[in-house]
Symmetry: C2
Subunit: 229 residues, 2 copies
Amino acid sequence: MTRKLYSLCGADRTRPFSPHVWKTAMSLAHKQLDFEIAPVGFTEIPALEDGATRLVPLLRDGETLVKDSFEIALYLEETYPDRPPLFAGEGGRGTARFVEAWSQATLHPAIIRIIIRDIHDRLDPVDQAYFRQSREKRFGASLEAVAEGGAAALESLTEKLEPLRHMLKSQEFLGGASPLFADYIVFGAFQWARIVSPQRLLQPGDPVCDWFERCLDLHNGLGRTVTAA
Amino acid sequence: MTRKLYSLCGADRTRPFSPHVWKTAMSLAHKQLDFEIAPVGFTEIPALEDGATRLVPLLRDGETLVKDSFEIALYLEETYPDRPPLFAGEGGRGTARFVEAWSQATLHPAIIRIIIRDIHDRLDPVDQAYFRQSREKRFGASLEAVAEGGAAALESLTEKLEPLRHMLKSQEFLGGASPLFADYIVFGAFQWARIVSPQRLLQPGDPVCDWFERCLDLHNGLGRTVTAA
């Protein structure tokens, strides 16, 4: 197999958890392209492919290397135009950037606070040290202090999901009647939490929970191949 | 001219202010379709076109009547496929529903609190009575009590715009390099405030303010044909 997706893992190499890698895994499956997962820890990333990237996902597709989940989706759409579309047109590409921005600006800052201890605890010791140092620098606070905001972040999360809930009155997916890359952007955030944390971010009966379950069912249940924490 | 857009106005019939009507005005201009504005007050709407609607926009296009800004955009896209696209594909249509949901769930509840007194004060007396009664019922509070939340809503608005700001690092419009209906959805919310209220919702130097100014320039400055309050 020539297609390889470098995927962030903790001590358990069978449980890739990066939200951005999950966006790409779903994109590849959507395009009906085979790929193998190459598990890596945080501190192994800079050495991959002659220093090609500091972040995953990194995709090797034959001779081509592509990084960044959005760039990879654009690459796949252009390279495999006869496969099911990830953006379904120029408009879908443009507004997917808004969905990405909403996910990064609204969901990720809340979710990281909820699960930061769970992530740390699942890493190899060498990656734990890196994770602690880099995240404490980013937040300007100890991991423990960031985690203290977790309960409030969990409580406020449901209100942040109101736009999604509102949209789900009109259609089953962000893409419309069927999923597109825009769905995988938001899916990645919840899959990240599902895999590393036993905390429940979505409550049964919430339309967002139903949408997430529909996403877990896609592509022969690809999302379910890693069980919930 | 056969195309008529029923548009909500206050006592000054030359200043249509409904956010949803502005979405449609921009959509018609985007499709390079002529239309005339038919100004109506809140209490006149139920009598329009044999009781066709309780809400504007309502568009008469020859023999066809269409209501609801999103439905009208879909109608225009289907009816005038050779004109510039409003959604630019199926994906754009799907994710525009998310933009609409975000605007309705995040921006509108904040903006209505900021401008509710300004709207009221610009209406004809008969519409003032209707507006007070219907909004007090909707909010379960007096207009004055709702307006008391305005200062806090104005203060929190800038944070709610973070997704848009984040996206504007990648591209000039929600549609990508050029505007689509998704832009007009968000534009409508700020144009509503611009026309009825002297309060400044967007600060100079904010990329969202720059984007709004770009939208005001579109279609020969259609948005500027009504001056700021």
